[in-house]
């Protein structure tokens, strides 16, 4: 018994060492960026080694007060709006698509699956010209809704991940409910969705992150500086503004971290349910 306990302890220690190492690898560049944003000189190359020599809050102050040319608070609001809307619509469409592709057998299903796979292979920037022209015709240039439309419409293309997940949920659960007289729509809403909560969280996060950090599409469609999203805005900063760039980059991460913590209990809900059984 003691022997097992020792082995267990060693295992735990090693596990923690690896976890610490991984955490450090992921933390370090971010920490570096964070400290750079507090640099007093504003320039990266005045650092001694990795970190700035002097710290101050100037870049953050500038970020939120000096808005004549770079209106960061406004960009932030724009991005938040676009990303949350696209996240909601995109997730709904993706989950719905994945569910149908996993649960139904209809005649054009396999063809659809293969087509979406193949469509994803086309170099996307080549199609950007067409997207731009299309939006000029729909009069959606300089409009956040135009962006939301494109993000949401494109989201179901990535349904494969979610379908893979639905494929692992036993069908017997559905069938039991069907016997009780529920329609397919009801089965989906009341039974499958709650079971899929980890996958929904993943989808929510990833469909939030995409519009949140994308800069190609907003750069294409948003011409007015006041409408910019954070990514486009940061890219438009001058060479000499690294500290401000770093500060702006830090804030961009905050909503995603918040979202992660708010949703993490759903992400691991399945796990904890399993753990209770032990």
């Amino acid at each position: 018994m003691k022997h097992i306990k020792i082995r267990h302890t060693v295992d735990t220690v090693i596990t923690y060492i690896i976890i610490l190492a991984i955490s450090l690898v992921f933390l370090f560049p971010i920490l570096w960026l964070l400290l750079a944003s507090f640099s007093r000189s504003g320039s990266l190359y005045s650092f001694d080694g990795f970190f700035p020599t002097e710290y101050s809050l100037d870049s953050f102050k500038k970020l939120f007060t000096d808005t004549a040319l770079y209106n960061y608070p406004r960009w932030f609001g724009n991005t938040l709006f676009v990303a949350s809307m696209s996240c909601l619509f995109g997730t709904a469409l993706t989950i719905l698509t994945a569910y149908c592709m996993s649960r139904y057998r209809f005649k054009s299903r396999k063809a659809l699956m293969k087509t979406t796979l193949v469509l994803g292979m086309f170099p996307s920037f080549m199609a950007m010209t067409a997207v731009y022209l299309l939006m000029t015709q729909f009069n959606l240039i300089n409009s956040h809704w135009g962006l939301i439309l494109i993000y949401s419409a494109g989201a179901p293309m990535g349904y494969m991940t979610q379908k893979g997940f639905f494929d692992t949920i036993p069908k017997s659960i559905d069938e039991a409910a069907r016997i009780d007289g529920a329609t397919n729509a009801q089965v989906f809403l009341r039974i499958t969705l709650p079971l899929a909560s980890p996958m929904i969280v993943y989808t929510l996060l990833s469909s939030f992150v995409w519009p949140w950090s994308d800069f190609i599409l907003p750069q294409l469609l948003l011409k007015e500086k006041d409408l910019y999203t954070v990514a486009v805005g940061l890219m438009s900063l001058g060479d000499d503004e690294f500290a401000r760039f770093a500060a702006g980059s830090m804030f961009i991460g905050v909503p995603i971290i918040v979202m992660y913590f708010a949703l993490s209990k759903f992400l691991i809900s399945g796990l904890s349910a399993g753990a209770v059984k032990d």
Binding site: F106, T129, A130, G158, G164, T168, S213
Partner: protein
């Protein structure tokens, strides 16, 4: 693409309708909804009639002109100096494709309308009541729920994904280039761009060199991302780990900051004046050009590592989500049988995860194959390597394509090359996909 058996059945229905349809059904073929009226299905009749009226309005006011424009690509050149508003060839092509899509949708409804009328005929012949609109609606929420659910996504994907791709494919058959772009009128040129691409001497060596590296890159980076992500997810899932949500936060940090920002950060770190070289020099070494012109393999290696750093967090999240759905009983059973942890992993965890993630693996492979950002940001995208035509030795096909088509405006040539690449990559990944267990045996875990 349709399954042969399905297609056969399809033809059978068409044949049957043609042979057996009565006058009322033919009326529906003449004016949509008329047959339904004759069967006293007013609601359905009105619906089909409205569709027909809407379609006619569309084609009369916009569609017909758009389709004509698709073939001519414009006849009047505009001259902005004198305010002459002429034709914009690319817009005409785009609207033409859109009109064809609408036409296809219309024809689908037209066919559905005849089929519906025929179904009524059959029902009446068998002495049953024809299905009403209400019946149909109910079925749309039940056994045909997929039709309701997929309608919006499919329309969206058609307009914002398929249409642009079709547009780009068609561009390859025109002379759209640096000297021929709106307001200059564009013309259809058939296979001219393809011939140019295939006969150019400088072209083939660069293409194959880049292709080879691109494949190596895609395989390596996908494998690394996938297994590291899975490994980390399993590690964090271990029972002995307390505060899982907290530990998981660190990779999420990397996920939270947009990729292009961290890429610019990494580029700086590895630059000559960056912190890494600073430390090397302070330790008495010589500054290393990690990403400079001569740094073929070190730049490639850094690209791989940085790409891992960027993508592992999302693989980890995904694997965590999938693992949480695993049937715990299997482990219990395995434990009772005395299986080792390693055995449990290879016999239970791995097959399950691989099954659930093969499609993801393929889509990650595609994403990595077409990973534009990594070397564009890391190496600035402004170098030409020896023996390459307008590309550097770390460029992937997509970067090269960007240099050719976007930086230099060679749209038709770029489109032609992307079609060639596209045919190649889609054939490979389609083959892998069709052969994979998650495609062939979708029902394993259901």
């Amino acid at each position: 693409m349709t399954h042969p058996k399905v297609r056969k059945q399809h033809f059978k229905t068409v044949k049957e309708i043609v042979k057996r349809a009565n006058g009322k059904v033919v009326c529906s073929a003449c004016i949509m909804g008329l047959g339904q009226f004759l069967y006293r299905q007013w609601a359905k009749g009105i619906l089909y009639l409205l569709i027909q009226i809407a379609a006619i309005c569309f084609f009369v006011f916009v569609g017909a002109e758009a389709i004509a424009g698709f073939f001519t690509l414009g006849t009047i050149e505009s001259n902005a100096w004198y305010g002459i508003e002429g034709d914009n060839s690319v817009i005409m092509m785009l609207m033409g494709i859109l009109a064809f899509i609408v036409l296809a949708i219309y024809l689908y409804f037209y066919y559905a309308n005849i089929k519906d009328a025929y179904a009524m005929q059959c029902a009446v012949e068998q002495g049953k009541k024809p299905r009403t609109l209400k019946d149909e609606m109910r079925s749309m929420l039940d056994d045909k729920f997929y039709k309701t659910a997929l309608f919006v996504p499919i329309i969206g994907v058609c307009i914002f994904n398929v249409l642009p791709i079709v547009f780009m494919i068609l561009i390859a058959f025109t002379n759209y280039g640096p000297d021929v772009k709106p307001p200059v009128l564009i013309d259809w040129k058939g296979f001219e761009s393809f011939i140019k691409v295939l006969t150019l001497g400088q072209f083939a060596p660069t293409f194959f060199k880049i292709l080879l590296w691109n494949i190596v890159w895609a395989v390596l980076s996908t494998a690394l991302n996938y297994f590291c992500g899975l490994g980390i997810a399993l590690l964090y899932n271990k029972k002995c780990v307390r505060g899982k949500a907290f530990w998981r936060m660190f990779p999420i940090l990397a996920y939270a900051v947009p990729g292009f920002i961290t890429l610019l950060g990494f580029k700086f770190m590895f630059s000559y004046g960056g912190p890494i070289n600073q430390m090397i020099v302070e330790a008495g070494g010589k500054a290393i050009g990690f990403l400079d012109l001569d740094a073929k393999w070190s730049a490639r290696g850094i690209g791989l590592v940085v790409n891992c750093w960027l993508n592992i967090p999302s693989s980890m999240l995904l694997a965590t989500g999938i693992l949480s759905n695993m049937n715990r009983d299997l482990y219990e059973a395995a434990k009772i049988d005395g299986a080792s942890a390693f055995k449990q992993f290879t016999a239970i965890t791995l097959p399950f995860v691989v099954f659930a993630t093969t499609p993801i693996l393929i889509s990650q492979f595609i994403a990595n194959f077409n990973n534009f950002g990594i070397f564009y940001f890391l190496r600035g995208g402004g170098l030409i390597a020896d023996g390459y035509f307008l590309a550097s030795d770390t460029d992937l096909l997509i970067n090269w394509l960007y240099n050719l088509s976007i930086s230099n405006d060679y749209y038709s040539i770029g489109a032609a090359i992307s079609i060639i690449i596209f045919l190649f990559t889609s054939a490979v990944s389609l083959a892998v996909y069709v052969l994979s267990p998650s495609y062939r045996q979708e029902d394993t875990y259901q």
